[in-house]
């Protein structure tokens, strides 16, 4: 993305640039298709010509690091995943790739079917559009990442090659002991090979070795430097670079990206491995200094009081897909409620049929949706987690559509099962009124008041406007697709998925009865789940959450689970007591544990069902920081600094590491100014070489980032405004207003 300022100058080189770049990718992995018998035979371990279905899943990787895994779709050659995954990219990367695997039921290693690799520079081009990508083969030779710095010095009699350093190399099972092979090809098919020393345990090795090549063998034409990882006799290729040599050339050192192995491609068959449909949304934010956005910010925050609201900046920017950053910014500055009030008034004024009020995808409904997701996610989890967990565990059959049943005698039993689950969820939702986030309640209150003002004779609208958001657009979609809302990470089987659909339908239609006061009419088989007591309870719930001030609102008395995952941790070592007869811990002692962060503590246990082995109160977390790779020769490590000890944790990938650091930083006390970026290993802090275990940190703690970074949101809004300039122009002409403040004129 190239930013241009008012005079159409590129901002890239102008010095305004902060080194604060962030990438956001939402990848939607959809399906592999078009695999038939002919193609299957090219895959090694299946029998010739067979069309045996497979169990397929995909992983998303940043360079070679897996950061997301889809469900496994069983027994198919046309799997459909329909999954969405959104994340912040915490580091630079070259490739985003999606690998497709065939799960092996017997052996432990799943077989890779192929991959789709997308270069970072291509992401903008394909962003936002769905594409079918052909799968390409995955071999040891193609899995390459990282770069290498090489210099060549040419003299009349010899050639000197300096291999300085490499960085970001592929790790093989978490290890990397690289060595460099330097080959010079001469005229007349001659060549000479030299080898560097092995650098142990480093994916960013510093070689600093020089290799002399004699010119007596002929004229050098090409230099090839390849990297290999040597473990127990096994040689793993890590990448190579080919540098053409022209006789006189002397180059200083350059960085080269490592490339996949160039093979003699003569006998390579072009295989059809199938195709994968993917949709990627990729945003790279280029953030300028905050003052640059002051005008824009002022205009956005003033928008609620602009009359008519159609001439406000927010209304205008709503036309260019800037809803998400707008909502985040308005929430950050506590202006979301008046903004939505103002827009809702406008929309209601234009309603001809109260039946379909807020039914379109209007600015109000999009903003409401975004606000509920932003402020209500914890609430959603807290409310639905328990009843959903029960459904996943019990897996009672709830099918009540006779057309989908083989044996209709089970109908009564299935009905009872479904009613039991509906009852449970209705109870959980109606019982959650006191925890509904205040921002959501205020919004519901505003909508209800606006409905009362706009349609004085019609009480029903007051309920339908609220339920149209809190049920139709919040609870019902979450029940239907809990994976999309992070309510579970486990795979949902077909029958359970159908159960969730039925519950979601039932809840929605019962809720609709509150405002329409007529029993559901549509599918006949669904009529039986409708119960009057539920209607009464839900009606009360709608009243409570839209009353002002909220009568039951209370601060949370039970801690809310904020994040959980299985990660590795090192045994904790006290800084206070001297190690009692024990040797200080080295680099080992890592164990897999189930981690859980709630609003009051961080704890870990052997697994999810066990009691915690250790509970760290939030008040004891002084700071959370990254840990350098060298400390444990492990990546994605962070440390939880407590008064007398440090907990070292290894996350599963860089995205997860970033998320944990982010949320912990937001929760914790941030009470230390200095920390050690490396661990205390074998009696010494690796970062500052100090042997004093109690020594305060050696490195200044960096600035902390809030969950919402207003500058980042503003940058995003502005970038969107530039991208959709022509569309804005049209709207502006229609509204006849000026955009002075946005700096777009």
């Amino acid at each position: 993305m190239i930013l241009r300022d008012a005079d159409n100058n590129e901002l890239r080189g102008s010095g305004y640039f902060l080194p604060k770049e962030f990438d956001l990718v939402a990848a939607k992995v959809d399906e592999i298709d078009k695999e038939d018998e002919g193609e299957a035979k090219n895959l090694p371990s299946r029998t010739q010509g067979s069309s045996t279905p497979r169990d397929v899943y995909c992983t998303v990787t940043l360079d070679q690091e897996p950061i997301y895994k889809t469900c496994t779709i069983e027994r198919t050659l046309n799997p459909f995943f329909g999954e969405e995954f959104q994340f912040d990219i915490p580091r630079r990367f070259r490739h985003l790739a999606v690998y497709a695997y065939d799960r092996d039921r017997t052996s432990k290693t799943d077989r890779v079917l192929g991959k789709v690799t997308i270069q970072r520079s291509d992401l903008h081009r394909i962003s936002n559009k769905e594409h079918w990508f052909p799968l390409t083969p995955v071999t040891q030779d193609s899995e390459v990442q990282g770069k290498i710095q090489i210099g060549v010095l040419s003299t009349p009699t010899s050639l000197m090659v300096n291999v300085n350093e490499a960085s970001g190399l592929t790790q093989v099972n978490g290890q990397c002991d690289p060595t460099a092979m330097v080959t010079v090809h001469y005229t007349h098919n001659k060549s000479d090979v030299q080898k560097s020393k092995v650098k142990k345990k480093s994916h960013s090795p510093v070689f600093n070795e020089s290799f002399m090549f004699d010119r007596s063998l002929g004229d050098p034409i090409e230099l090839v430097v390849s990297l290999h990882h040597d473990i127990s006799g096994l040689n793993v290729f890590l990448g190579e670079v080919h540098i053409p040599l022209n006789n006189k050339e002397t180059s200083s050192s350059w960085w080269y990206y490592l490339q996949p192995r160039k093979r003699l491609t003569a006998n390579q068959i072009i295989q059809d491995l199938g195709t994968l449909r993917i949709r990627i949304q990729y945003t790279a934010d280029h953030i300028l200094q905050p003052h640059y956005y002051e005008d824009l910010c002022t205009q956005i925050l003033n928008s609620p009081s602009v009359n008519p609201v159609t001439s406000s900046v927010v209304y205008l920017l709503g036309k260019v897909e800037a809803i998400q950053p707008l909502v985040r910014l308005l929430c950050f500055h506590n202006r979301i409620v008046p903004m939505i009030r103002s827009l809702a008034e406008l929309e209601m004024a234009n309603v001809t049929n109260t039946n379909t009020i807020f039914r379109g995808n209007s600015l109000v409904s999009k903003m409401m949706d975004e606000t509920m997701k932003l402020t209500g996610l914890n609430y959603l989890h807290e409310t639905l987690r328990a009843p959903l967990a029960k459904i996943f565990a019990e897996r009672k059959n709830c099918e009540i559509d006779p057309a989908r049943m083989k044996d209709k005698s089970h109908l009564a039993g299935h009905r009872a099962n479904l009613k039991y689950y509906i009852d449970d969820i209705v109870t959980c939702i109606t019982g959650s009124a006191r925890h509904t986030p205040p921002v959501m309640c205020s919004l519901f209150h505003e909508l209800r008041c606006a409905a009362a003002r706009g349609f004085p004779g019609n009480n029903d609208v007051q309920y339908s406007v609220v339920s149209g958001f809190v049920f139709l657009r919040f609870f019902a979609p979450a029940i239907l697709g809990p994976r999309l809302f992070g309510l579970t990470t486990q795979q949902i089987d077909e029958q359970t998925s159908r159960t969730l659909t039925l519950i979601s339908k039932a809840i929605q239609s019962v809720c609709n009865v509150v405002s329409s006061r007529t029993a559901p009419q549509k599918e006949e088989y669904m009529h039986c789940v409708y119960e009057v007591p539920h209607v009464i309870k839900l009606k009360q719930f709608l009243e409570i959450i839209s009353a002002n001030p909220h009568p039951l609102q209370k601060s949370l008395d039970t801690p809310v689970i904020l994040k959980e995952s299985i990660m590795k941790k090192r045994a904790q070592e006290s800084m206070k007591k001297r190690a009692q007869g024990r040797k200080p811990f080295g680099r080992r002692n890592f164990k897999r544990r189930y981690f859980r962060l709630t609003s009051s503590s961080l704890s870990y246990a052997k697994d999810k069902s066990k009691d915690p082995l250790c509970v760290i109160p939030i008040t004891d977390i002084l700071s959370v920081q990254r840990v350098s790779y060298e400390s444990f020769y492990r990546s994605n490590m962070f440390q939880v600094i407590q008064p007398h000890r440090i907990l070292y944790v290894q996350a599963n990938n860089c995205v997860e590491e970033n998320e944990w650091i982010h949320i912990l930083t937001r929760m914790c006390m941030n009470q230390v100014d200095k920390y050690h970026p490396c661990a205390y290993i074998d009696g010494v802090w690796l970062c500052c070489n100090s042997t004093d275990k109690h020594l305060q940190g050696c490195t200044q703690v960096g600035g902390t980032r809030d969950d919402i970074d207003p500058t980042r949101e503003l940058a995003r809004i502005q970038a969107l405004a530039y991208t959709y300039m022509d569309r804005l122009d049209n709207v502006m002409q229609a509204c006849a207003i000026q955009l002075v403040g946005i700096g777009l004129t």
Binding site: R75, G82, R359, G360, G468, L472, S504, T518
Partner: protein, 184 residues
């Protein structure tokens, strides 16, 4: 009897359910009850052939659009509905069609474009000519309907059945029935 998987798509409140229920049960649903995912079966006779229609009435609400891909993958014929009283519902359909073609990975998909609520002539904002020209661009059939006044309701479903027949004649189905193990 041959089965036809029909999917009804379009924005919220355009009358997808009203059309479907009118066709299946012969009643008009006055009160609005937003759909999440409803399915109906109806047996009809088209051109002397008995057909079993399996109709999937989908959600127009944006929060449920994640499911659309799956519906499209499984559907054989598609009814794209807008309301002649709301321009935005008409504008939404181009993206929807594109998505269908992409999921199906072909340009030839049985499809009917439907402008509903034609009984509300005084509230009309999408002209009939607009609908017709979009249908030409889509290369599909176009009908204006009213679920309320029972105008052209059956016709959209019958037309779709004929399109499916034309695209994949019956004998192909028989072939498919051969393997003993059928994956659903």
């Amino acid at each position: 009897m041959r089965e036809y998987k029909i999917v009804v798509l379009g924005s919220g409140g355009v009358g997808k359910s009203a059309l479907t229920v009118q066709f299946v049960q012969g009643i008009f649903v006055e009160k609005y009850d937003p759909t999440i995912e409803d399915s109906y079966r109806k047996q009809v006779e088209v051109d002397g052939q008995q057909c079993m229609l399996e109709i999937l009435d989908t959600a127009g609400t944006e929060q449920f659009t994640a499911m659309r891909d799956l519906y499209m993958k499984n559907g054989q014929g598609f009814i794209l509905v807008y309301s002649i009283t709301a321009q935005s519902t008409f504008n939404d359909l181009s993206d929807l069609r594109e998505q269908i073609l992409r999921v199906k990975d072909t340009d030839d998909v049985p499809m009917v474009l439907v402008g509903n609520k034609c009984d509300l002539e005084e509230e009309r904002v999408v002209g009939k000519e607009q609908g017709a020209s979009l249908a030409r661009a889509f290369a599909c059939t176009f009908l204006e309907t009213s679920a309320k006044a029972k105008v052209n309701v059956n016709d959209i479903f019958y037309d779709l059945v004929r399109q499916v027949n034309k695209k994949s004649p019956e004998k192909k189905q028989k072939q498919k029935k051969k393997p003993l193990c059928v994956l659903l």
